[in-house]
Every structure is written in structure tokens, then in C-alpha cells.
Point group: C2
DNA sequence: TTACCTGTTGCGACTTTTCGCAATAAACAA
DNA sequence: TTGTTTATTGCGAAAAGTCGCAACAGGTAA
């Protein structure tokens, strides 16, 4: 997946944040490494290019870019956290506990559920990304 | 919450696992400490009773008891993992990202969603425990 | 271009979680 | 009760993730 660097930079600056080489490197890394990118994978990747870029910065930037909705945080089967580019429309995953494969779900499947929570509990669901676990066809 | 020790022990032995003092202590601890019990809290608790019981064992046993469906793993707002007794009927949580409070959802709210996933994707959802994040009434 | 302001980084220390392996001790059968 | 099997534990070390703070460097305005 590719991303619109100029647009993202503009968005960050407008909100009073800074565009640093580290942030750009880390964002590029997630972009290149695809879906479900672990912090460690990002670190390995950027560390080769910028050896002084620290682990702490990787974690901080991933967290930061998630808050800015540029990245999305996803939970994997083992409970660990991974990241991916946040598309304009949120999507969700069905993750198989047996074979670790995953399927994308369109946002629509959660729409009615979300509305129900809002109506019944006055609770505004954050559905930027949700992972559901279970077993896929092949593994049953 | 209390648990049926004899029944659980029987279940474990039947599956070829062993009932050890460590496992019993850790299970008791989760039971006593209530909902959303962190590994560290369990360790603090059991370590007072059995000083040689190691951290590694706490993590391993929590993981193990979750696989056996005796405990349920829950994800908290900060991304950290906690545990609680797995009741006979699964339940779910609405967790507020702002104030950390949480509300229980009856299992029924996910029933139709689960059926839909099964029908459309032939995917068997594991709904032993799901946490949804968002914002509660007070924080909106 | 320069200088200021303050958001961000790197470092090192610390906490949390995992791992490999030898020693231990449940379960069970004789 | 005793011995055998092998699941489980404890230990020490390593990996993963977080934190506080001083140094650094983007952004902006003059």
C-alpha cells in the first residue's frame, strides 16, 4: 500500500505536530511491510537505514500515528499488537486461532451493532478496527 | 466469585494435565481478586503465600487456564491483558477509553452477529470474551 | 537567514513478558 | 508403598515494551 505523504504531513503540521525523518521512516516501513506489522519488524527495518533510531521512538511513533488515525492498531491471536495503514473506511478482521490466517470484514457488518449500542447504552463505539477470533472453514 | 475446585481438577486430569499447588494458588488468586486481574496482581498475591513461585509460572498458568476455558482473557484500554473467571455464559464489555469504566454486555447482543459470520463466511466465532472500546455517556 | 519556542528524540534504566533447560513432582500402575 | 513416566516448575537470561530527562531540531516569525 502507498500513502499520500504530502497530505499526511499537512495534517500533522496543521494540528501542531512536527514532521520528522523518524516519523516518515516509520510510516514508510509500515506501508512497505504490509498488513499486521509488528513493532519489532518496524524496528528491524528502520534500524538498518537509521541505526541511531531507538526502539522507544518506534513504539512512541506507532502509538502517535495511531492516535492521529494514520495507522490502525490490530490485535493478533497471541495477544500481541500490530499496525497497518488506516484506510479511509475502517475494516475488521476474522482471525483464525488455529492457522493464523485472517479475512477482512467490511465495516458494514458492524454498523447495526454499533447503532444498537448507541441506542441501548448511550455508548459510542470506537470501531476503527476490531479483530474477532475463531476458527476458519479449513480448520474446523 | 467462587469456583468448583473438584470439578475443575477432574476436568484437567481427564484431559491428561496435572493439578499442581501452583495452579490452584493462581486460580484462587484470580477468583479472589475479582474482574480484570493483571498478571502482576496475581504474582504479588501468590508470591506472598509461596515465595518461590516464579513470574514465568504465573504467566504460563494464566495462559494455560485460558486455553482450558477456565479463565477468560480480557484486553484493557491500555492494551494490556487481564484475566477473570470464565463463567458458564460468556459476557462482554463496553470499555470507555476516557474513564476506564466498563459495562457488561449480555451474550445475547452478539448472537445474531455470530450467526451471520457463520452463515456468510463459514467462520466459527470464538466469543468467550470480547471487549469493545469507545466512550460512555458521561464522557461524551 | 537567524533565533526562539517547544515538540521530539536518544539514551539508559526499568518493568513486563517470554524462553530453554535441568530439576522436580503429579499421576498411575504394579 | 514404590517406581516410572513425563507434565510442570524455577531459574537465569533474553526479549519486548515503557519511562524520565537532557539534548536536539522542526516550525515559525522577524
Amino acid at each position: 500500500m502507498s500513502h499520500n505523504t504530502a497530505e499526511i504531513n499537512r495534517q500533522l503540521r496543521k494540528a501542531g505536530f512536527r514532521v520528522t525523518p523518524q516519523r516518515q521512516l516509520i510510516l514508510d516501513a509500515v506501508c512497505q511491510l504490509g498488513e499486521h506489522v509488528t513493532p519489532e519488524a518496524v524496528y528491524d527495518h528502520v534500524h538498518r537505514i537509521a541505526p541511531t533510531l531507538s526502539r522507544a521512538t518506534v513504539y512512541r511513533v506507532l502509538h502517535f500515528l495511531t492516535e492521529q488515525r494514520i495507522l490502525a492498531m490490530v490485535q493478533m491471536v497471541d495477544g500481541r499488537i500490530a499496525y497497518e495503514m488506516a484506510g479511509p473506511e475502517p475494516h475488521h478482521h476474522l482471525v483464525c486461532r488455529s492457522c493464523d490466517s485472517f479475512f477482512e470484514l467490511p465495516h458494514s457488518v458492524l454498523r447495526s451493532f454499533r447503532r444498537a449500542m448507541e441506542a441501548q447504552y448511550d455508548f459510542e463505539l470506537d470501531v476503527s478496527h476490531v479483530s474477532f477470533f475463531g476458527q476458519c472453514t479449513d480448520c474446523r
